[in-house]
């Protein structure tokens, strides 16, 4: 936890980039999506790990105000809006695995992403009224 400001700024940038890339998946057709799925899994994992990292910083409780200063609040809101509320089905489709010709949806990925994101919001709103 040496450079919290840098980590949070980078995380905000990562989220922004992910959301830009995700846009093209949202509007692609099923066939295109399948072709791009392998790439998407990597990109999604990158977002997933970013959110997990942010959550760890939020749990520390010492950097609450940094979340506001580094623009994380709108970023977290956009992740929830885009990845959960509006397009969770796109993520489920693109991260699905096929076993014996049967598509297995990985709902836990979305659940965990939401838990990290909302958990972060919960942590930094706990004591810091200004945030």
């Amino acid at each position: 936890m040496k450079y919290p400001r840098s980590v949070l700024r980078l995380s905000s940038c990562n989220v922004h980039l992910y959301l830009k890339i995700f846009e093209k998946y949202i509007f692609s057709t099923t066939q295109q999506a399948l072709e791009q799925a392998a790439d998407f899994k990597k990109i999604f994992t990158y977002l997933f790990e970013t959110m997990r990292g942010i959550f760890i910083y939020a749990k520390e409780g010492s950097y609450d105000i940094l979340f506001k200063e580094e623009g994380l609040i709108p970023s977290l809101s956009k992740v929830l809006q885009t990845c959960f509320i509006d397009h969770s089905q796109v993520i489920l489709r693109l991260t699905a695995q096929t076993v014996n010709k049967k598509e297995i949806l990985n709902e836990d990925l979305v659940y965990d992403l939401v838990n990290y994101t909302v958990g972060t919001i919960k942590c930094f709103t706990q004591s810091e009224g200004d945030v």
Partner: protein
């Protein structure tokens, strides 16, 4: 409010009930933090969070962490008039009262829901109407008697039973006092569960009152005296004697000392 949409989505998304509950714990936890700010009350009403929270309670009854989070949110927002109206509009006060009975050993939950119901019945006739049936009042009185017994047991063993038991009793007594402001509800109690339960409640409350001291239990005493006053208002010869003479004398003796002991005008 984004978290309100998240609540909606989480209630519909996926098939894993355990993961769903875990997600709802986080969402309600964040909401609980945000409602600490009074400015958020208007948004809570606008985004219809209250009926969603009651759905969560209904769907996940028994999930202690989730129940506690929801009760904490409801207890905060019940201090606001518009949010109170939103709770009453769900027509689910009987459901909340039922949860108090069902989870009566879960003190942290009972104290908050009793606080919510007491707040609502203080200002709103509709709330008193929803809870003013014999069945609902009987439930409240029965849970109160259970808490009086827990408090009594702690007093006999001269051990501290913790502020929570007394706090819970304060809320339950306030709730009973609020409902007992109207004769029709007292009549409903007598018709539905007889005078015995009402008498038992009064005896337990007066016993507790006799043990309490103003410096440590002023809120309890204040609410108990209000409750006794409201009930005694209907204890007239015409009402075929709600309480026996011996109990009336005991109430008088328990209460009279406080009039000279305190400078609190409400007492």
């Amino acid at each position: 409010m984004l978290l309100s949409k998240c609540l909606d989505k989480a209630l519909q998304f996926g098939k894993n009930a355990s993961k769903r509950a875990q997600t709802l714990v986080q969402i309600t936890g964040a909401l609980r933090n945000l409602v600490n700010d009074e400015d958020s009350y208007a948004r809570v009403c606008k985004t219809k969070v209250v009926p969603k929270l009651l759905s969560v309670l209904d769907l996940f009854r028994g999930h202690k962490e989730l129940m506690l989070n929801v009760s904490r949110i409801l207890s905060k927002v019940s201090m606001d008039s518009d949010c109170s109206k939103a709770i009453i509009a769900t027509d689910k006060l009987e459901f909340l009262n039922g949860l108090i009975t069902e989870f009566q050993t879960y003190t942290a939950f009972v104290v908050r829901i009793a606080f919510v119901l007491a707040n609502l019945t203080t200002y709103f006739d509709e709330a008193r109407e929803q809870l003013g049936t014999a069945a609902e009042i009987r439930r409240i009185l029965q849970v109160s008697v259970v808490y009086f017994e827990r408090e009594e047991a702690g007093a006999e063993q001269q051990v501290s039973v913790g502020g929570n038991i007394e706090d819970t009793l304060v809320k339950l007594i306030r709730l009973v006092a609020n409902i007992c402001t109207d004769e029709q509800y007292i009549e409903a109690v007598i018709e539905g569960c007889g005078k015995e339960l009402l008498g038992q409640f009064m005896v337990k409350m007066i016993s507790a009152l006799e043990r309490k001291k103003i410096p440590s239990s002023e809120e309890f005493i204040l609410n108990a005296v209000s409750c006794a006053t409201n009930m005694l208002f209907f204890d007239s010869p015409a009402s075929t004697d709600l309480f026996p003479d011996a109990l009336r004398v005991r109430i008088f003796r328990a209460v009279k000392l406080f009039t000279v002991e305190t400078s609190n005008e409400e007492l």
